[in-house]
């Protein structure tokens, strides 16, 4: 009797667990379709205040307090929203010189950023300066190709992170630029830079095969494209040479794009590459619409940019 009781309880437990687990993936959905909204920034460079009205280039543009309003209204419209940053959070205004990045991280936490990758300027106060500000960041730092194991940053970043939004599993991984030549060696210390394409291949395999993600996003600080040095690894080069990435959110080159770029990957499938300039002047928004198979109207995915 006791044994039977035990079995019954375990069965009930497992069934509920299964329900709970699957519920996350498929059953919290209320309709047969859903939308995932990805919001992103890059190279904000400590631009917390909006630009002066007399600024020659960006008069009255930007500002974190405005970005907060915008992000909040989009989250209200679609709770299935992720907010991501592609690095170079630090350096560019006295806020960084005075507070070392504290305010940048605190504000990004208040805006509920979900994840960020690291840019070269995030090492401007050294790896110790970056580490010192980590307690102010309530979001995850993601980088797959910086090996921090011999540094103070060890265990404080993850190669990737997965998110569940309305039954959709989203995998986000990060890629950073080669620090040598951009950052003084005494600043990045024993950070090892790993080949971005190899790291990318490993990440997409893990996220696609092991984690069975529905959406795979790369947060990159590699730079959009290097016209004068086309062999240098960039977001466009990465997109062409790899597979299974739905979206590359880029940074570093401060590239203002008229619209996201569609690149054919190594399997001749579409990968989207986007970047929104710099200094928090723009917010990027990519909406991914999911539908049931039976509702599909056309073959493949339509991209409207």
């Amino acid at each position: 009797m006791k044994r039977r009781n035990f079995i019954r309880k375990t069965s009930a437990g497992t069934a509920l667990m299964a329900l709970g687990g699957l519920g996350l993936q498929s059953f919290s959905r209320t309709s047969a379709s859903t939308k995932i909204t990805i919001l992103h920034t890059n190279d904000v460079h400590s631009h917390i205040d909006s630009f002066n009205p007399n600024d020659a280039k960006y008069a009255n543009k930007g500002g974190v307090a405005r970005r907060a309003t915008l992000v909040e209204s989009i989250r209200h419209e679609n709770p299935n929203t992720l907010l991501l940053d592609a690095g170079d959070i630090f350096q560019g205004t006295p806020y960084f010189n005075y507070y070392g990045g504290e305010l940048e991280f605190k504000l990004m936490s208040k805006l509920k950023y979900d994840a960020a990758t690291l840019g070269n300027h995030d090492f401007d106060n050294g790896i110790d300066g970056l580490y010192a500000q980590l307690p102010h960041a309530k979001f995850q730092f993601i980088t797959a190709n910086y090996d921090f194991s011999n540094t103070i940053m060890d265990t404080h970043t993850k190669p990737y992170k997965t998110f569940f939004k309305d039954g959709i599993k989203i995998g986000v991984f990060g890629l950073g630029i080669k620090l040598e030549g951009l950052v003084a060696p005494n600043m990045f210390k024993e950070t090892k830079y790993l080949d971005p394409i190899e790291s990318c291949q490993e990440m997409t395999r893990i996220l696609k095969v092991d984690e069975t993600c529905d959406l795979i996003i790369c947060l990159s600080h590699l730079g959009y494209y290097y016209k004068n040095n086309p062999n240098k690894i960039s977001d466009l080069a990465l997109a062409k040479a790899t597979k299974d990435i739905d979206l590359i959110i880029g940074g570093h080159t401060h590239t203002f794009l008229p619209k996201p770029t569609i690149v054919k990957n190594i399997e001749n499938k579409n990968t989207l590459v986007n970047q929104v300039g710099c200094y928090g002047i723009n917010l990027g928004r990519i909406d991914f619409y999911f539908d049931t198979d039976k509702n599909k109207t056309a073959n493949g995915t339509s991209i409207i940019v």
Binding site: Q91, P94, G280, Y289
Partner: protein, 252 residues
């Protein structure tokens, strides 16, 4: 037992349902939203930022010195009042630190013309001025160089034909840009002496194609930011009135 059966059934239904609910990506839409003044500011975020802003402004704008004129890095051919001021500041602020650590003196200073990022405007001078002149976090380094590298340095200056800021180095070019006079602290440059050249870590690492700093005998990192040297100097001065002089000239 009937209960257990019920849960098996539940499992089955769960899987069946999931098969039907399988979603696929059907459409992607990309847009860019400009953060313009048509978006209202979030008052909570704004009030969170405010004390930081006020504190910075108070510190940045407190008056440290007075500038007698408006000086630009473009107001001279081979040397400018502003460039001379910057290079001389590096010498006067960094030399005591270098000397206390090494018992040696800095022999000369070299900065780059492009590294001066703003104007020194007539009137009150504050920390903000220093941030405008030098927004970067570069620090002062002292490099031990021998005559062949000093020769390359001089060759660089004569071929660049730019007012790269220097201090304690005197350079005269003829009308064909050949060097006719090169002295450090008033003396000829000799083979057996080691010269201690102060510069920025950016230039030391090859910035602006300055490739003559490596290899070298020794590198001394002062861990002293160029901007902080400028601020320290502003604190000591009442009036700033630098001039164009004869440290780097061309005889035409």
């Amino acid at each position: 037992m009937r209960f257990t059966h019920f849960f098996f059934l539940l499992y089955f239904l769960v899987f069946l349902n999931c098969e039907q609910g399988k979603l696929r990506l059907s459409k992607i839409e990309g847009t860019q939203i400009a953060i313009s003044d048509s978006i209202t500011t979030d008052s909570e975020i704004e009030s969170f930022i405010k004390p930081y802003r006020v504190n910075i402004q108070k510190d940045l704008d407190s008056v440290l010195a007075y500038s007698a004129g408006t000086y630009s890095k473009n107001d001279g051919e081979f040397n400018t009042a502003l460039g001379n001021f910057m290079a001389d500041v590096i010498y006067s602020e960094a030399n005591p630190i270098f000397k206390s650590r090494t018992q040696k003196d800095i022999d000369m200073v070299l900065l780059n013309h492009g590294g001066i990022r703003g104007l020194l405007n007539k009137g009150n001078v504050s920390k903000r001025t220093a941030f405008q002149l030098m927004p970067f976090e570069n620090s002062i380094v002292v490099v031990a160089l021998k005559k062949p590298q000093i020769d390359s340095l001089i060759d660089y200056l004569s071929t660049q034909k730019k007012a790269h800021p220097i201090s304690k180095l005197k350079l005269t070019l003829d009308k064909n840009y050949n060097v006719i006079e090169a002295k450090i602290k008033g003396k000829e440059i000799t083979n057996n002496k080691t010269y201690y050249v102060a510069t920025s870590d950016y230039l030391y690492n090859g910035g602006d194609n300055m490739n003559f700093f490596k290899p070298n005998d020794t590198l001394y990192r002062l861990d002293y930011k160029i901007r902080n040297a400028i601020i320290d100097n502003f604190n000591k001065l009442d009036t700033i009135n630098p001039v164009i002089d004869n440290r780097f000239t061309q005889i035409k």
